[in-house]
């Protein structure tokens, strides 16, 4: 019985509903997560950073007057701004990462030693949790502690933890399914056609993805080395200058300190975002190389969409990095590249839906 469940996906790609749910849900999750990231970067991130800087500057100006309550009020506001930003970054990154994992689980379906019904239930558990976790994280800032039974954790956090736990359960069960396959050494499946690669679109995406990953690792290592080299600016040193100059009412020096603090925060944020986005785009391209088999377009169009995906994947971190030198122009490049990736993803999703339609019509709609 277990062996029967392997056969459809290894020999007949996208024959099972579980694989379809995971691959369509995964592509949608990545596209929605990226769109949310684009909107967040344009309308929330930069205004929010400006508000944090302004509130901190106001707190420093209250130091000479000894207004501790006023200072605490400004920091309470900063806490709110940070929560607003943090929950949106978490919602954006979790949606994309869960989408990546859905694509991987779809690719691994042939080796999951469960029956078709169990696989489908597991796929739905995973996809439902994937689409419910990010909205729960997003709601944390707005729901707060309203009607919460706990002192520090609100209902939205409780739901986010629940869906995170369910995701963990779905992954552990998948691991168990793979373990069952690995233990059964008598069953050796042929490499599924969708993993054999060979078509130009798949090769383009694989090469682009690997190049990005190498770049990402080297960038991360260089940034970490710079951080421990002692050449990096110390946040604490700037903070000490801020309160020292504020207490002495040296306004010009205080302004210079805040300028330095802004530059420090900008460098840190841009370097981390660049490193993260290089790696994430690299993994995305590798995953997309696996789904090219299912994209029902002519070879020419498959290659075109693959090129759009690769160019956009490189453009996004390059745009973020350019923000250091050219500011808003870099942001525009990054946003356009992000948008290009979303368009390529949706085009591939459309091609995949065409593939399932053609397949079902050939099999009389049985799948």
């Amino acid at each position: 019985m277990v062996e029967d469940a392997f056969i459809p996906e290894s020999e007949d790609a996208l024959a099972s509903s579980a694989q379809r749910v995971l691959i369509i849900g995964g592509l949608l999750a990545v596209a929605v997560g990226m769109l949310f990231g684009d909107i967040f970067a344009m309308f929330v991130l930069h205004p929010n950073n400006a508000r944090i800087g302004q509130a901190m500057y106001e707190a420093a100006l209250l130091i000479p007057a000894g207004d501790a309550d006023g200072i605490m009020g400004r920091f309470a506001a900063i806490g709110g701004y940070l929560e607003n930003r943090g929950t949106k970054i978490d919602a954006h990154s979790h949606m994309i990462h869960m989408g990546y994992l859905a694509l991987l689980l779809a690719v691994l379906q042939p080796w999951m030693a469960f029956g078709a019904r169990q696989k489908l239930q597991l796929a739905w558990l995973y996809i439902a949790s994937t689409f419910l976790l990010p909205p729960s994280i997003f709601a944390i800032h707005y729901v707060g502690l309203a009607f919460s039974p706990l002192e520090h954790i609100g209902w939205a956090s409780i739901l986010a933890d629940l869906f995170g736990f369910l995701l963990g359960v779905a992954v552990v069960l998948s691991l168990w399914g793979l373990w069952k396959y690995f233990r059964n050494t008598k069953t050796v499946l042929p490499t599924p056609a969708f993993l054999q690669g060979g078509d130009p679109a798949s090769r383009t995406l694989l090469a682009g993805g690997l190049l990005l990953l190498v770049w990402g690792f080297l960038y991360g290592a260089a940034y970490a080395a710079w951080g421990v080299s002692g050449q990096a600016t110390s946040e604490v040193a700037i903070l000490k200058d801020i309160v020292g100059h504020a207490a002495a009412q040296q306004t010009a020096l205080l302004d210079a300190d805040f300028g330095a603090y802004g530059v420090y925060q900008m460098y840190r944020a841009i370097n981390i975002a660049t490193h993260t986005h290089i790696n994430e785009m690299g993994i995305l391209l590798l995953l997309l190389s696996f789904v090219q088999f299912f994209v029902y377009y002519s070879e020419t169009w498959k290659k075109r969409w693959a090129r759009v995906a690769v160019i956009s994947a490189f453009g996004l971190p390059v745009g973020i990095l350019l923000e250091l030198k050219v500011g808003i122009v870099g942001s525009i490049v990054a946003d356009l590249a992000g948008f290009g990736t979303i368009v390529a993803l949706l085009a591939m999703l459309f091609g995949l839906l065409r593939y399932t339609g053609v397949k079902d019509s050939h099999s009389g709609g049985a799948a």
């Binding site: 501790a68 991987l104 736990f165 691991l175 793979l178 694989l206 190498v214 590798l286």
Partner: protein, 161 residues
């Protein structure tokens, strides 16, 4: 699925499951308290300065920096375990395309799997009493990942040519 692919995919899935539970546990029991602590320490630095005690303000900022480093390491461990696990699984799926012998593939698979597990663990260890060991593990892990990935790229290129 052959031996090296099994090593990479099984390690990747185990790391993903582990980091998900680590993330949930961390969010419930530690993250909120750490963030509140960081905010309080930074605010204290300003209020102590407002009271005229700059020495106390500086001590608050130093405590803020230590807690901030702890928070960064915890988040980096969680995030890197997840991302490296995804990379292991993806590489496992293309490993049969590498132009290496079976033995070389197994060595490379173990190098990647161990590096992906040890690098974030080393980052996490740096917040405790075993910080020195953590630094060594983090350096070894990140070097192993870079070398392993470069070897994988070489193997794919060698086959393509």
């Amino acid at each position: 699925m052959n031996g090296p692919a099994r090593i990479l995919i099984a390690t990747g899935l185990a790391l993903i499951a582990m980091t998900m539970f680590f993330g949930v546990g961390y969010a419930v029991f530690d993250e909120h308290q750490t963030l509140v602590g960081m905010g309080t320490l930074m605010a204290n630095g300003f209020t102590e300065a407002a009271r005229g005690d700059l020495q106390a303000a500086f001590e608050s900022f130093e405590a803020y920096e230590a807690l901030s480093r702890e928070y960064r390491n915890e988040i980096h461990s969680h995030g890197h375990w997840g991302m490296l696990a995804l990379i292991l699984i993806v590489l496992g799926l293309v490993f049969n395309r590498l132009a290496f012998t079976a033995k070389q593939r197994i060595v490379l698979a173990w190098l990647l799997a161990l590096s992906a597990a040890l690098f974030p663990f080393g980052v996490l260890l740096q917040i405790g009493p075993a910080a020195a060991l953590g630094e060594v593990l983090a350096i070894l892990g990140s070097t192993g990942m870079v070398l392993g990935l470069l070897a994988t790229v070489y193997g794919l290129l060698k086959r393509a040519t």
